[in-house]
């Protein structure tokens, strides 16, 4: 009945399909679309997470307002919640971890990329990357059974007898506490710093080294004054990655930090981190206010991560003029 129009339509359709396929041959649009979707989905997930955290923490936000950030009491029985001891514990333990891990990690990366023979370098790098895959509960157990006794019996008494005049090294020595938390975190993030920094250092063009050597620099001068500054941005990036992991680490920290929400200047004293208290109390939180206060802590951790990452980025911008010119 209507066969003629159908054939015409069909012909038009097949032409269109042909055109479309021809278009696709280039692949650009498809690739563009897929990568765009990938990027957009990450942003959508992030926004949704923040939205959920915000909506589900309405009760403590209204009850405590800004005082949630400054309150020092965390009492599920009377319903009084303040986040300051947890913010303090998270920031100080992560800072302590970076203080130990950055020199260690960058030093090891320089050795592996610049000084060690290739065979040894590859072998060691393989082992270091294995370390990054060890589950955090193993680091926690290692902390409890190996690190904590050493800290209690040797390291902390030594620190107390030599540097005991500082408030950092006073008070009773349990082994578990802020110092143990920071050290276990350092151990956990060192592999990230080494692995990424080594890659970045190896990517520095050989010409840079040859030029430096050609101008009469020693091997170390070429490494320290040319190669490392050139790779500075990448090394910084490895430090951020490590910082992000330290801020959010839960299991290993809670096993050794002592889990006591009090602010104490001594590194020997027990402390508590945001991620640890959420993991500890979430399953048995029966009161709505308690549960929502824990969710608000999640929001605080998110803000803290953004804030610290922002600060770190400022540091990069301020210090990388040299590196940028080099490229």
């Amino acid at each position: 009945m209507a066969s003629a129009p159908i054939t015409a339509d069909g012909a038009r359709f097949s032409r269109r399909v042909e055109k479309f396929i021809k278009h696709l041959r280039h692949g650009d649009e498809v690739a563009h679309l897929i990568t765009l979707l990938a990027a957009a989905s990450i942003i959508v997930v992030t926004v949704m997470v923040v939205y959920q955290l915000y909506v589900n923490s309405a009760m403590p936000r209204h009850k405590f307002g800004f005082e949630f950030f400054t309150g020092r009491t965390w009492d599920p029985v009377s319903g009084d919640f303040g986040a300051l001891p947890f913010i303090y514990g998270t920031v100080v333990s992560s800072a302590l971890a970076l203080l130990v891990a950055v020199p260690l990690g960058v030093g090891a990366a320089i050795f592996l990329s610049e000084l060690a023979p290739t065979g040894i370098s590859n072998y060691l790098t393989f082992i270091i990357e294995l370390l990054a895959a060890v589950p955090s509960v193993i680091y926690g157990l290692l902390g409890i059974f190996v690190l904590v006794p050493v800290l209690r019996k040797s390291v902390e008494p030594f620190l107390k007898s030599t540097l005991g005049f500082l408030p950092l090294f006073q008070g009773p020595m349990y082994g578990v506490g802020m110092l143990a938390g920071g050290l276990v975190l350092a151990l956990m993030i060192v592999p990230f710093i080494i692995s990424v920094s080594r890659e970045v250092l190896m990517a520095v063009p050989v010409e840079q080294r040859e030029a430096a050597l050609g101008l009469g620099a020693t091997k170390w001068e070429s490494t320290w004054q040319v190669v490392v500054p050139f790779a500075r941005v990448g090394i910084m990036a490895s430090v951020f990655l490590a910082l992000a992991r330290a801020l959010g680490e839960t299991m290993a920290v809670t096993m050794v930090i002592g889990n006591n929400p009090r602010i104490n200047p001594s590194l020997f004293a027990p402390a508590y981190s945001i991620a640890a208290v959420i993991a500890n109390e979430f399953t048995e939180a029966t009161g709505d206010l308690h549960l929502q206060a824990l969710i608000e802590l999640g929001l605080v951790l998110f803000l803290l991560t953004i804030l610290l990452n922002g600060l770190a980025r400022l540091v990069i911008i301020a210090t990388t003029q040299k590196g940028a010119q080099g490229q």
């Binding site: 041959r25 280039h26 692949g27 599920p76 889990n259 929400p261 500890n280 048995e284 308690h290």
Partner: protein
């Protein structure tokens, strides 16, 4: 050449995504045989071992009934029962009046087995079982008694050479029914504890170190000279921990064992309210260990599906009779006889 590869890889990617979606859609059809009735429960971790045993055993006797249990914690058990997303909940702590009001369907409490909490310690040179009183434990956890040779401890431990060392208090850092029972007991024996700290799964501990889980507390106690912590009796027996006797309200220093725990429930049975929501810490019995608790199954009072209703009622009946025989082998204290009798009657309240 390059273009072709990219097209091939895109096509391959799309095919894989499609396959993945198909697999995802089809997977539910691989679920258990349609004839089996599935009951879902969520709740406390403490009774997980005996519940798994009961549910497997019951499925063996009644192959048409399958019970899944998710041990996410008492809080999750209460929450999911309130929301009506599970067929039953489980909790070490009875629901409060507020929590019962918030539930979509009224919930009934059925005690299943009993647990106890013991004080474990690590003092150099002391391998005896120490004696404690409730007041002394409260004062230690309040930070008022700080040395092992404090007169309050020395007076009840004649003949033990208690050293002049600091007591390091260790408590659970994760919210836990164990902490609830412990703080509930301390609240009953010490007014100061009740007003300053109170009873809850997580509290604001005045002093001490927090360990995650029973294994965390045990780890800290074993590692730290002078430490005093608390763990479930089951855990202490399994791991052969040294733990102390506690003076009960009849004045006897009672060691915690399964019989003493059942005795605690028996001595409180007469005073028990009709809905079984009761704390049995600090009981009156002479043979009773004072820091004990029921653990509960939380059952909706009204179940619409007749098949499910029958299955739950039948299971409760079996659990209260044959099931109780499994308890002691798994280191849980079984229910006293009169409590069982009252619960069997209470099954009739499920409509």
């Amino acid at each position: 050449m390059k273009l072709k590869t990219s097209i091939t890889s895109i096509a391959l990617g799309l095919v894989m995504v499609a396959l993945g979606v198909c697999a995802f859609i089809e997977s539910p059809s691989a679920a258990p045989a349609p004839s089996a009735l599935l009951l879902n429960g969520t709740g406390a971790t403490f009774p997980y071992i005996i519940y798994s045993k009961w549910f497997t055993e019951y499925n063996r006797i009644h192959p048409d009934i399958q019970i899944n249990y998710n041990s996410l914690g008492s809080g999750a058990g209460i929450r999911q029962l309130q929301a009506g997303t599970v067929d039953f909940g489980a909790s070490d702590v009875p629901m409060t009046d507020d929590q019962l009001h918030q539930a979509k369907v009224p919930a009934l409490h059925f005690p299943t087995v009993l647990g106890a909490v013991v004080a474990t310690y690590n003092i150099e040179g002391v391998s005896q079982e120490l004696n404690f009183t409730g007041e002394a434990l409260a004062d230690i956890f309040l930070g008022k008694i700080t040395k092992w040779n404090d007169p309050a401890l020395a007076a009840i431990n004649k003949g033990v050479n208690l050293p002049n060392t600091d007591i390091v208090v260790v408590h659970r850092s994760d919210g836990s029914g164990t902490s609830f029972v412990w703080t509930d007991y301390l609240s009953k024996v010490s007014k100061e504890w009740e007003t300053k700290v109170g009873r809850n799964a997580s509290v604001n501990w005045p002093v001490g170190l927090g360990g995650k889980g029973s294994e965390g507390v045990t780890g800290l106690v074993k590692q730290t000279p002078g430490a005093l912590g608390y763990v479930e009796l089951t855990y202490a027996i399994q791991n052969q921990l040294l733990y102390g006797r506690v003076k009960n309200s009849a004045g006897v220093f009672q060691k915690a064992d399964l019989a003493a725990v059942t005795a605690a429930a028996a001595s409180e049975a007469k005073k028990m309210p009709a809905d079984f929501r009761v704390s049995i810490t600090d009981p009156s019995g002479k043979a009773a260990y004072p820091i004990c608790t029921f653990t509960y199954m939380l059952i909706p009072a009204k179940i619409d599906d007749p098949a499910k209703k029958k299955a739950i009622k039948d299971f409760l009946h079996w659990m209260l009779t044959d099931g109780q025989n499994d308890a002691e082998g798994l280191l849980y204290a079984k229910l006293p006889k009169d409590v069982v009798a009252r619960e069997l009657k209470a099954i009739g309240q499920i409509n």
